[in-house]
Amino acid sequence: MDSKALFRFSLFVSGEGLLAKKAIFNCKKYLDLFLQSNYDMEIIDVLQYPKLAIDENIIVLPVLIRRNPLPELSIVGDMSNLELFKSDLLMN
């Protein structure tokens, strides 16, 4: 991961179901749209890495956590609501 990127995200999904696929797809799409390549996103499947879910106190899925810039914030859902996604995301 390129730690010099301004925006860093962690996307937690569970398995490869519809919600997971949608979330991954939408995230990539919109982040590319707004941030071009100036971001890093890691995708974590909690079914494979349950401990990570516990560490982050994750109950609702899928969830995108913005690591950088601070403050950390999270958005839950399959990211299909663009407006909300945009406004929350670019919040500083």
Binding site: S14, A53, L61
Partner: protein
């Protein structure tokens, strides 16, 4: 012929084996009314308002699982921080921290903060499943508690939750774990979501009502799929020993009835009781208005038992034990020495301080420790002003049944008279429950007060129908023939019975 019998037996065993497997909770009384406990490896829902004991009951279920049945348990809470939970249960004789260290218990606090959540599109609670699975696997749990669902309700989308809970309940079933899930808003959310009907195999309702200023806890099994269960509401209490449910002993299979007798402590009274006295393990009621000598009669009963080296538990609800000892000294009974010899144990409690169930609970605990042969409740009517009449009746029935199974003779005194029975019909209730009922009364003849007594009933034995006079002096109790009293004018004023020549008709 043989074939017929064989097929009938087959049918019977098929029927019995269709009842589902159950997991004992270890909660006193609860396993009885459910005929074995909660459905094994299925989810049970406990619903009830705030403060009704849901968290307590589920915790008790878990702790018993570890201590009594070697089943490890997971407690997932959406509510309190786990440290608070542990301190709330610190009164238990269990070191919870030890159990956690030894991987028998696993606590987890799941925190969902609505205000932090930004939403975009659809989501579910898969993360919860992951957490639960991890917790279960960490300690190989056979029992799990989720406490409570309401926090989820208030924060998340209801329709999503509807599907998720169905999923959760089915998922839990597959995991071979007995789950207890608590929810507060049973009526509002769950019924609307149809959870009760569809997915919970067993639903238990807890209530905590305030009746006559006393808080009264009740438990009811609303549903238990695949099993017989008791249908009524049952009182229960929660104290530092845990939770205790009081079933009416419905599955009291025939307990052994004794033919043995125990003396009343007064020779002439025994004479009225077929010359032998009361049946061992029976119940006796001495009723009469205040100051008629009921406690004294009870004291003689206590004394006679103590003399024969039996144990007597004297439950005093009006006078303190010291008072009773002092008063009885004045009529020639030394109770003190029996207290010293541990034949006589006093239980003194002000009835107003706690509810009926708690009293009986404490007495029952004392009985289990001290194992008395006889027990005296003086007067039982003091307890009865504190609870609504039907509750009292139920409680008394349970209590008397319990004593019968323990073969403990019980003597109640009650401040009721035949007149008061018509005013307060519940008073009649006790008299119908006991085996022997005698009445003491004051009558005024000319300017002198005399005491009379008579036996209204005594099941299973021929008893005297005579009205006798009795007198208490510093030499004890004397019972003699009525016609020694002149001009018994008051004998005419009887509502229910008439006395003719000293006989009851």
């Amino acid at each position: 012929m043989e074939l017929e019998i064989a097929s009938k037996q087959n049918k019977k065993s098929k029927y019995l084996s269709s009842t589902i497997e159950k997991t004992k909770t270890g909660i006193c009384g609860f396993d009885e009314i459910t005929f074995g406990g909660l459905p094994k490896n299925r989810p049970t829902l406990i619903v009830g308002g705030i403060g009704t004991g849901k968290t307590f009951m589920s915790m008790h279920f878990l702790l018993n699982g570890v201590n009594l049945f070697e089943e490890n348990g997971v407690f997932m809470t959406f509510e309190e921080k786990t440290t608070e939970l542990v301190s709330n249960f610190s009164n238990f004789n269990v070191d919870i921290d030890e159990l956690v260290k030894n991987k028998k218990l696993y606590f987890e606090h799941l925190h969902i903060a609505q205000y932090e959540m930004h939403e975009s599109g659809k989501y579910n609670i898969d993360g919860l499943f992951v957490r639960i699975e991890h917790a279960m696997n960490t300690i190989n749990a056979k029992r799990i508690v989720l406490d409570s669902l309401d926090t989820l309700f208030t924060n998340l989308d209801i329709n999503m939750l509807r599907n998720e809970f169905k999923k959760l309940f089915f998922w839990l079933k597959e995991k071979n774990i007995t789950a207890v899930i608590t929810a507060e808003q049973g009526d509002i959310y769950l019924t609307r979501l149809g959870l009760e009907e569809n997915v919970a195999d067993c639903v238990i309702e807890l209530t905590n009502r305030v009746i006559n200023q006393i808080s009264t806890r009740r438990l009811r099994i609303m549903k238990y799929r695949g099993s017989f269960h008791a249908n009524n509401e049952y009182p229960f209490i929660i104290d530092n020993e845990g939770m205790n449910v009081f079933p009416i002993a419905t599955n009291l299979i025939e307990y052994n009835i004794s033919n043995q007798r125990v003396s009343s402590g007064i020779k002439n009274l025994d004479a009225m009781l077929d010359n032998k006295g009361f049946f061992v393990g029976s119940s006796v009621l001495i009723s009469g208005s205040a100051g008629t000598g009921k406690t004294s009669l009870a004291a003689f009963f206590a004394k006679s038992n103590c003399e024969n080296n039996k144990k007597c538990l004297f439950c005093a609800f009006e006078e303190s034990s010291k008072q009773i000892i002092r008063n009885m000294k004045s009529i020639g009974i030394d109770l003190e020495k029996y207290v010293t010899s541990n034949n006589l144990i006093f239980y003194y409690a002000r009835p107003t301080l706690q509810n009926l169930e708690l009293h009986f609970m404490r007495i029952k605990a004392l009985i289990e420790i001290e194992k008395p042969d006889v027990i005296i409740l003086d007067p039982v009517t003091n307890l009865m002003t504190e609870g609504p009449n039907s509750d009292v009746r139920g409680m008394l029935t349970r209590f008397i049944d319990y004593l019968k199974t323990q073969k403990i003779s019980v003597m109640f005194t009650a401040a009721i008279t035949l007149k008061s029975v018509t005013i307060n019909p519940s008073d009649e209730g006790i008299s119908s429950m006991v085996d022997t009922w005698m009445m003491v009364e004051d009558i005024v003849t000319d300017n002198k007060r005399n005491r009379i007594m008579y036996i209204l009933k005594s099941r299973g034995m021929p008893h005297s129908k005579e009205v006798k006079a009795f007198e208490i002096s510093n030499e004890g109790i004397d019972i003699y023939e009525l016609d020694k009293i002149e001009n018994h004018t008051m004998l005419e004023n009887r509502n229910i019975t008439t006395v003719l020549n000293g006989n009851i008709t």
